[in-house]
């Protein structure tokens, strides 16, 4: 049985559905990332699980029991917020020990657990400091310690690294990953940063306008985005609009047989990852418009003979003109759903 189940979850603000009929499950020990653009309902979902918002419909169950009647202080969840939420009038020690004190744990136990959790987040020497004396990253680690010390069944993280600079964010992400591996705690992590989601999650739930677009493992999300939205949102993607005509899909420089399920006259979108495009002896002709050196790879902007632009990521040489081949092409129908994936064998039949 799943640790957490969200069934037909709904939330409206001023008659506008922010979360619409959301169904998902989180297994024990799993890290689930809710990923999506601003306003897609991911934070609202998290706040409903934490108990800060009451859903308009549906249920939230943990271990099979509904949490809806429980206020946040009674739920077996711990939350780390986006903004630094340490209480500035309390020392780090008192911030972390706050919840244990409320539960009237013996003094010796509180001392030990606070010490252990501060060691876990790598800040054992900060116990006597006040939040104003800590950096942003340290404050978020203490906020994490404050949530972890209560040993919640489920840890909820609402874009906890959003206020940190890029380098620190990356480091914190790695630290959280290693901490999760050590402790094995179940987590729901809200983010709009795809890299964060891809690194941290066992599964990613991509949300859009209150709906769940796709829930799958990071590899699946990246390699087989179920919808055109997911394809466009996760990672960099070349999108080419086209049409089904006389048994062929025609899009930009591509002409190939129609995958099953597409009808004549239907509009389609081809999605190609930049790393799936490479200069080769065959393929379609392109002219290199711009090259940006990004250190470990280069990003080339290529112009097709039809005038369209494509991005290609490569570590190799980039000629000013040449032929380019796609090793993998995703095809989306008019509904926006994935209609087929053209792998190398299928693409060998592609007639540019």
């Amino acid at each position: 049985m799943a640790l957490l189940e969200l069934t037909h979850l709904q939330k409206q603000y001023a008659n506008l559905g922010v979360v619409r009929d959301l169904n998902l499950e989180v297994a024990e020990g799993e890290v689930l990332c809710l990923l999506g653009p601003s306003g897609c309902g991911k934070t609202t979902t998290l706040r409903m699980v934490a108990g800060f918002l009451q859903p308009d419909g549906g249920d939230i169950r943990m271990d099979g029991k509904s949490l809806l009647r429980l206020p946040p202080e009674r739920r077996p969840t711990g939350m780390v917020f986006q903004r630094y939420t340490l209480w500035p009038h309390m020392s780090v020690w008192h911030n972390v020990a706050f919840g244990l004190g409320l539960r009237r744990r013996p003094r010796a136990e509180i001392e030990q657990r606070v010490k252990d959790v501060l060691e876990l987040v790598g800040l054992p020497e900060m116990a006597r400091r006040y939040p104003a004396q800590l950096s942003g990253g340290q404050q978020q680690r203490i906020a994490l310690a404050r949530a972890l010390v209560l040993e919640p069944r489920l840890l909820l993280l609402d874009e906890p690294f959003a206020n940190l600079d890029a380098q620190l964010r990356e480091r914190m992400r790695d630290e959280l990953l290693s901490l999760q591996r050590r402790v094995g705690i179940t987590m729901i992590f809200v983010t709009h940063d795809q890299a964060e989601a891809l690194v941290l999650a066992h599964r990613i739930a991509v949300m859009r306008e209150g709906n769940l677009e796709q829930i799958a493992a990071p590899d699946e999300i990246y390699n087989r985005p179920a919808t055109r939205f997911v394809a466009a949102f996760v990672g960099t993607m070349n999108l080419l609009e086209g049409k089904v005509s006389a048994g062929q899909v025609i899009a930009g420089p591509f002409r190939f047989p129609v995958p099953s399920g597409l009808k004549d006259g239907e509009t389609v979108t081809l999605a190609i990852r930049p790393e799936d495009l490479a200069f080769a002896s065959g393929g379609f002709p392109v002219r290199t418009v711009q090259v940006a050196n990004l250190g470990h790879y280069r990003r080339a902007t290529l112009q097709t003979s039809e005038g369209g632009e494509l991005l290609a990521f490569t570590g190799g040489e980039i000629p000013s003109e040449g032929l380019v081949q796609a090793s993998r092409v995703l095809v989306y129908g008019a509904s926006g759903k994935l209609a087929g994936v053209l792998e190398p064998q299928a693409l060998a039949q592609v007639k540019p």
Binding site: G51, F52, E73, F81, W87
Partner: protein, 293 residues
Amino acid sequence: MKNSWREALIGLCLAALPVAAMFVLVVLPAFEGLRFSLGYVPGDNPAYSTGSHLVTSSTPTLEVYRTLLSSPFVQADLRLTLTVTLFTVLLILLVGYSLALLVRFGPGRLGAAVRSLYLIPMFVPVVIAAYAFITLYGSRGWLDALLHHVGIGYRSPIYGIPGIVMGLVWSHLPFATLLLGSGLDALPEEQVEAARDSGAGFLSILWRIILPLNLTPTMIVAAFSGISVLGSYTVPALLGPNAPQMVGVAMEQYFGAYRQPQGAVALAMITFALAAAIGALYVWGISRTRRHG
């Protein structure tokens, strides 16, 4: 170089006007009052020299203070003043916090209603409010009549300490609630949610999170209400007892009815010292709360 002199001169001229106004309206009268209360009586100024029971001395003397403070009537006045100040400030904080919390955390409609109502006393002149209190809660007032109808006895709070406290709480409440409410508005929602998430109920959050984080506005309200109540006149004069009296009323009587300006000024100096003590407490408290940034 010339420009910097000109800028400095403009700056000085701009600052000179308020400084001069403060000197003429505050420093000079206060200094003159202090000298007068210490026995220096300028003979050529009838405002000083025509009063009765004058203590005159060529060297500073505390005789006026000694005489005043040894009077059981003045002692009772001071006791009443301090008692009323203490209770009024506590009630202002209690009621002000209740209203501010309702506005900040209360359910939508109730919060909105309180937000639009609590400022009303600010627009009602204190004299009118005091007479309204007499009409409503005085002996043979509205409440008395109502209770009499249902056979319940009534003892009016008007013309006693409760009457003064009621009137002063009424008149100070809008300012207090406004200030406490602004402090609560500035409190990040997540700070409260983090406490709830840690398992804290409403009272724990109020006592351990909200009050400490809102300490500066609380101290401002306590200090400024305290100072204002200490020297208040209209409400104690209209709703208070004949004796003992609050020092504001006593000062007026020393000055007008008894024609003892020196006693009135000495009482004002004592009131000033008490207000300064509250001010010092406020500054000490603020510096402590800001230590941890």
